[in-house]
Symmetry: C2
Subunit: 182 residues, 2 copies
């Protein structure tokens, strides 16, 4: 096994286990075992479990699809994307793993930056009216709240409701911030 493929095998096993079981439940040993290498190699390649997590987990480009298109209906598109069985699935498990690992300041900073880069910053550039930057971050907070409800707390009222209903109600609330209604 060459160097890069060993590193890739570790990263792949880590990504899978972090998404499936979260940060705390995933051990360096179990990642090494799945990758077919020794635990010491994981440390050698990534330095620490924390760094392995940060370099492995990512949400890049998650919202591109919803951000494309007109400002009208953007709120509903964002909500629908998050709820979509197929498109939102990896993002939901990834977000859950990251939030639960925010005990670590590095993970917290990484998640904050990821949400900014993939959602708040591109959105802020599109918003008109006062406090565009703040409003974009508050939209990100709303999206985070929805992710929390469906992926972390698994609220049965929300997950059990028709996605179209959730998209209509929550989408309208998101749209209020997009439009700048206050």
């Amino acid at each position: 096994m060459t160097g890069t493929s060993t590193r890739a095998a570790i990263a792949e096993a880590a990504r899978r286990q972090f998404q499936a079981g979260g940060y705390a439940a995933t051990s360096v040993r179990s990642v090494a075992a799945e990758a077919g290498v020794d635990a010491a190699l994981v440390m050698r390649h990534f330095g620490s479990k924390e760094q392995l997590f940060i370099e492995t987990i990512d949400v890049e480009g998650a919202f591109e699809q919803a951000l494309d298109g007109p400002a009208d209906g953007l709120g509903e598109r964002l909500v629908s994307l998050v709820l979509d069985d197929r498109l939102g699935r990896v993002f939901r498990t990834t977000y859950r793993a990251m939030i639960r690992a925010t005990d670590s300041d590095q993970v917290r900073a990484h998640l904050l930056e990821a949400m900014d880069a993939t959602l708040a910053a591109p959105l802020a550039a599109r918003l008109t009216g006062p406090d565009a930057r703040l409003r974009a971050r508050l939209v990100a907070a709303q999206v985070g709240g929805l992710l929390e409800a469906v992926a972390i707390l698994e609220d049965p009222v929300v997950t059990g409701a028709p996605a179209a209903d959730v998209a209509r109600w929550y989408g309208a609330a998101v749209q209020a911030l997009v439009d700048g209604d206050a």
Copy 2:
């Protein structure tokens, strides 16, 4: 030291440490040390660290103050309460500790029920129009998203903005779900 006062001393030390440092960073041994007892006693009294957390941490009555009063302006009152330096402080640290500990199914269920009992259920009883129960839970999701932004991710744009601005913008978005605008 008698039985009940020992239990109370353990609970008090646990509550303080869980709020200050979160679930993972708090050890049964450190709680026992602060309470002036042996670590085994903590297990004897509470059964597990998980159970100690659940029985110790609580958010009861956190939103009563905002839920009182007219439906008009309720969104803004909720947001202001969460952001208030004094009134929202314990709730923010408690919520943060709980969210980060939702790896545990017991903690997850406890937090879900706490948010329902203190916010979603009393709110649902007041809402008029269709999907009242769902809308109340989505309001809870929005509040959770704001808590996440200020207490977990510590978004500098949100925490650095004037509380009145955040209350106006985010409050209006919450109010959209309270009023049933869709």
